[in-house]
């Protein structure tokens, strides 16, 4: 019976055994617990007292191991640190589902193979220059400023909550995912790593620019790693190393230059410069839109004070002298 100090939690738990079931189903349970009880504890109570067949993955119960990431009312969360009270207050129930973007092995347990493959692909280890190996037994201290550049990335516990929340991961197999890119950032800024430039060059054509900067990863991350912001940093560093090499960096640079002298976006010019000769393929769509929106191909008036914008550009993004 629920008492004043407890909340009666209506649970709807995703159940699926691909070896037996044709399709997944949602099983309802009701458990009375204190409002601060984590979702994980409620699931373990269900398994211990009601239904021993429920499969889930967990270990430390202290938000350190990253094992119990799952979807709680459609949000990717660590079940061990998500209290039931606010969820029931907001939704009237708790729907528990496995993480997204990974195939379900059984119930709440997913196959993390692809997640780890993408992580391996960024080569998540220090690559020291073989000509200058770190001498055995010698401490190699970093300056505080160098440590500062790691930002929040060492906090990552690889729980894959960001991977589950990411719409680019679900729409395109070429996207490495937020966690792999945040880890890549961590090695790119490591002063001991000798492969910084190569790493940046490689990632430019290896999915970096498929990030939508939707920040859903940053919302989902239980450790506040803020992957979307580190992906932004990687983009700027990649451009600094290599300039425009593929559509993403070409578009960012074309956009930057688009505003330099006028202060306002010229939509038509942007398309022309991003697509280059391939803009021809975009013409039918452009004409279709222009029938309703004739401004599409008009050149906008420069803003008042466009010279101020140009001077800000001169100070912070000086034009390179022509070669």
């Amino acid at each position: 019976m629920p008492t004043e100090a407890t909340v009666s939690v209506p649970l709807e738990v995703y159940r699926f055994d691909p070896s037996k079931d044709k399709e997944p189903r949602y099983q309802s349970y009701r458990v009375d617990v204190a409002p601060h009880t984590p979702v994980l504890s409620v699931l373990l109570k269900v398994r211990a007292e009601i239904d021993p067949t429920l499969s889930l993955r967990y270990s430390c119960r202290s938000a350190i191991c990253g094992s119990c990431a799952m979807q709680v009312n459609a949000k990717s969360r660590l079940a061990c640190e998500t209290p039931v009270g606010p969820e029931v207050a907001r939704h009237g129930k708790i729907v528990v589902e496995p993480m997204r973007n990974q195939p379900v092995l059984r119930d709440l347990v997913v196959d993390q193979k692809v997640f780890w493959q993408k992580y391996e692909r960024i080569e998540p280890h220090l690559k020291v220059d073989p000509r200058h190996p770190m001498p055995e037994g010698v401490v190699n201290p970093m300056t505080p400023a160098q440590v500062e550049r790691f930002r929040e990335t060492p906090r990552c516990i690889a729980c894959a909550a960001c991977f589950s929340a990411c719409p680019a991961v679900s729409a395109d197999p070429e996207f490495p995912g937020p966690m792999a890119l945040a880890k890549l950032y961590r090695f790119v800024v490591d002063p001991r790593d000798a492969e910084t430039q190569n790493r940046l060059v490689r990632i430019q054509t290896d999915g970096l620019w498929l990030c939508l900067r939707c920040h859903l990863c940053t919302e989902a991350c239980p450790k506040d790693v803020r992957p979307s912001e580190r992906i932004r940093d990687l983009k700027e560093m990649a451009i600094a190393v290599q300039g425009a090499t593929e559509p993403g960096s070409r578009h960012a640079i074309a956009f930057e230059e688009n505003l330099r002298t006028t202060g306002i976006l010229n939509e038509f010019r942007l398309a022309r410069e991003t697509y280059g000769a391939a803009v021809v393929k975009e013409l039918p769509q452009g004409l279709r839109i222009r029938r309703k929106k004739p401004e599409l191909t008009k050149r906008p008036h420069p803003i008042d004070g466009a010279d101020e914008v140009e001077k800000i550009y001169d100070a912070l993004a000086p034009k390179e002298p022509p070669a």
């Binding site: 680019a168 932004r232 306002i264 803003i303 100070a315």
Partner: protein
């Protein structure tokens, strides 16, 4: 109420209907919009990718313009809202501030950080208030099921945007209910529209857009409504491409936020620029109970 009006580039160009509808709604609700022809583009997230400090500096200039006039800033685009708000946050870092000041001070521009950036949705919900909006409704949108599409930058990163939940917002649905529409709840409402990678990999971008439109439709939406003209491009102007990616006809009209409010407050479709959409909005407008009589009243 008097606010510095920051329409952003798209609403002054191919998304002109958003500007029309905003002006109509603000006039009806007594919000005075002060234009500043010297506002520049916010950089749309792309300049931020190429050069973060430059992006902060051009937005510091925009913020300083409103600050000099002693006004808060009204935005009607999620990306503009995000970029201007993030500039305010990044300028709290003394290193960033020093570099930006180095570029602005020689021009006699001073950024102090007192201007708030508020999207129209937030102004309607927090400052005008839903009771006041409701009181002005002359044609409740009875019978119209609308899927609010928040997109990303109005909400996230939520620590910086600082008003709604980044994953479970409700302000837009509250507004829709206040003007008599029935809000449709669907998962895609807080997802991305795909726009940022439209130029990078169009098929992936359109697949992402298509999934959200399909999600809204499968949850019973007669139309979507968006607070962002960039989302509008993805969802409306590129809906034909989204259809190809999800392999089915979608045909779902997409309103700009002030168009939905304007309809309820008595504006005609012409006054809201509805004919400028790629997916016709007529079928959705016709679903409003008593729509035909309302239309004839409006045209008289």
């Amino acid at each position: 109420m008097k606010l510095a009006y920051y329409p952003g580039c798209v609403a002054q160009e191919s998304g002109k209907e958003l500007d029309l509808a905003t002006r109509w709604v603000c006039r009806a609700l007594g919000i005075e919009l002060v234009p500043f022809p010297n506002f520049s583009c916010c950089g749309s997230g792309f300049v931020d990718e190429a050069n973060e400090v430059l992006n902060v500096a051009i937005n510091a200039r925009n913020l300083a313009i409103a600050e000099r006039a002693g006004l808060d800033l009204l935005t009607i685009c999620s990306t503009c809202t995000g970029m201007l708000t993030l500039a305010n946050h990044r300028l709290a870092d003394p290193t960033v501030k020093a570099r930006v000041d180095g570029a602005l001070k020689p021009l006699g521009i001073e950024y102090r950080g007192t201007t708030k950036v508020k999207h129209l949705l937030r102004v309607l919900v927090e400052d005008v208030g839903l009771t006041a909006v409701k009181a002005k409704v002359v044609r409740p949108l009875d019978g119209l099921q609308v899927g609010a599409f928040y997109g990303c930058h109005l909400l996230r990163p939520s620590d910086e945007m600082g008003w709604e939940s980044g994953e479970e917002p409700h302000a837009f649905e509250d507004l829709l209910a206040a003007v008599g529409a029935t809000p449709v709840y669907y998962r895609g409402r807080v997802m991305c529209c795909g726009f940022p990678i439209q130029f990078v990999k169009g098929d992936t971008a359109s697949r992402i857009a298509g999934r959200q439109i399909l999600d809204a439709k499968q949850h019973g939406a007669d139309a979507m409504a968006t607070p962002c003209p960039l989302c509008h491009i993805s969802l409306d102007a590129y809906q034909n491409r989204a259809e190809k990616q999800v392999g089915q006809r979608l045909d779902l009209p997409v309103f700009h936020l002030p168009q939905v409010v304007g309809l309820a407050l008595g504006a005609t479709p012409e006054e809201l620029g509805l004919a400028r959409h790629l997916v016709p909005t007529g079928p959705a407008v016709a679903k409003i109970r008593g729509a035909s009589s309302a239309r004839s009243t409006a045209s008289r």
